[in-house]
């Protein structure tokens, strides 16, 4: 096993991970467009999708520059196959019902904001700048998803049951949030990314507080998804990419 990993390579990988999480979740949320339970939620979910796709553009542009092979944000978004995507399993999980979408969002928003705040305090000025900007937007996302988790958890019998089921659906994707690999540890050494153990403790603390208020139980995690950062995905990602990349695949280089 080689001891060192090139910092530039690690930086490129990390930028891809950030961009891919944002783009895949943004695409998922956009699937609610014109299909949400009420008009206000339609507007909210598509606004959050728009913010995330905006973040993805910044991260993927930076990734292309870090790689130095001339790939643009569009090349990275539209011309990679599933094995080359670096996103977490959580964000590719299908929307399910509104409860599932909100639990997925709450899990991710909590993690996302802690992670971005950590990056913003890190030593890489380019990454810190993008993270500080994105964090301001994610603060609104988190307030929205946290509010729904509490309202629906502590709501009717039906909404409570659906929320508890949604927690069961999303829980296997949680351990992956806090996994590390050589890429991550290298960047942690350079003080570019946050200490993942501290982040995990804070995430769990915020979950306990919100789920307590929501009268919901975090299920025991009996099996866990893993490997998204290395390009190992569930079958869901392939279907998502087939839709998202269709135009560029069918009409290469199309623009308007």
């Amino acid at each position: 096993m080689s001891k060192t990993i090139n910092v530039d390579q690690a930086r490129f990988e990390q930028l891809l991970r950030l961009g891919d999480n944002a783009l895949i979740l943004g695409h998922r949320l956009s699937e609610w467009s014109a299909d949400a339970p009420v008009l206000e939620e339609d507007v909210a979910l598509t606004n959050i999708a728009l913010d995330l796709i905006g973040h993805a553009r910044l991260w993927l542009t930076a990734a292309g520059q870090a790689e130095g092979r001339g790939r643009t944000e569009d090349d990275l978004a539209y011309l990679r196959d599933a094995r080359d995507w670096r996103n977490l399993h959580l964000v590719e999980l299908p929307n399910g019902d509104f409860a599932r979408t909100m639990v997925r969002q709450f899990f991710f928003d909590t993690y996302h904001l802690l992670f971005l705040d950590g990056l913003a305090a890190g030593c890489d000025t380019e990454i810190a700048g993008i993270a500080a900007k994105a964090a301001k937007e994610v603060r609104y996302h988190l307030r929205h998803s946290r509010g729904w988790v509490i309202r629906l958890g502590d709501g009717t019998e039906d909404s409570h049951t659906r929320m508890q089921r949604a927690l069961d659906d999303c829980a296997p994707c949680v351990p992956e949030l806090f996994e590390t690999d050589r890429t991550y540890l290298e960047l942690e050494d350079q003080n570019i990314v946050p200490d993942i153990q501290l982040l995990k403790a804070e995430w769990e603390c915020q979950m306990n507080q919100a789920l307590g208020e929501a009268t919901l139980q975090m299920p025991e995690i009996t099996h866990a998804m893993s490997g998204g950062r290395q390009g190992l995905h569930s079958e869901h990602l392939g279907y998502l990419l087939a839709e998202m990349q269709f135009l560029q695949r069918a009409y290469p280089g199309a623009s308007w």
């Binding site: 206000e40 939620e41 507007v43 909210a44 606004n47 959050i48 728009l50 913010d51 995330l52 796709i53 905006g54 973040h55 553009r57 910044l58 000025t125 810190a128 700048g129 993008i130 500080a132 900007k133 994105a134 301001k136 937007e137 603060r139 609104y140 307030r143 929205h144």
Partner: protein, 169 residues
């Protein structure tokens, strides 16, 4: 008439040109008053004038950003400077604290309640938001997200009308 054809040469003149450029989604407010212009640099190589306008985009995914860039370019080109470069500065991120008093006044006139608190006081959700239609303080939030990324949807219990609220950011 000759004076009208002379190209602009100072930053103050460029700034004045940018007063005519507005946010396409909030046409009553200029981009100057929105606080997105960071710097204007003018330099010349030989006969050629170059203008570099540095902006801080508002929300990451806001589709207005590209239109604003095209409008900035157009306004300066029409004044006789063909070489316009637009650069982005993300850090520090844009904040509604940079909206000018005039900008806030224009928002209110357009039926959009301006931010009710400093963005540096995060998540002051229950801030005292004033209805732009009737001036009532008896208002409540309908949705944290609205017709554009920068706005939330509120409701006035005084005149019973819904209205847009520009979120502190």
């Amino acid at each position: 008439m000759i004076a009208a054809l002379l190209p602009v040469t100072t930053r103050a003149q460029v700034l004045e040109l940018l007063d005519s450029v507005t946010d396409p989604e909030i046409p009553s407010v200029s981009i100057r008053d929105l606080g997105i212009i960071r710097a204007i640099d003018i330099h010349s190589t030989g006969q050629e004038m170059h203008v570099v306008v540095t902006i801080t985009p508002t929300y990451s995914g806001c589709p207005a950003t590209r239109v604003i860039e095209a409008d900035i370019r157009g306004a300066i080109e029409r004044a006789g400077i063909p070489n316009v470069l637009i650069e982005h500065r993300l850090d520090p991120p844009w904040t509604t604290d940079w909206i000018t008093e005039r900008g806030r006044k224009h928002l209110l006139e357009a039926g959009i309640s301006p931010p009710a608190c400093w963005a540096s006081t995060p998540l002051s959700y229950e801030a005292d938001v004033v209805c732009p239609h009737c001036g009532s303080h008896n208002t409540r939030v309908l949705s944290g997200f609205g017709s554009t990324p920068c706005k939330a949807l509120w409701h006035c219990s005084g005149c019973l009308e819904p209205f847009d609220y520009f979120k502190p950011h």
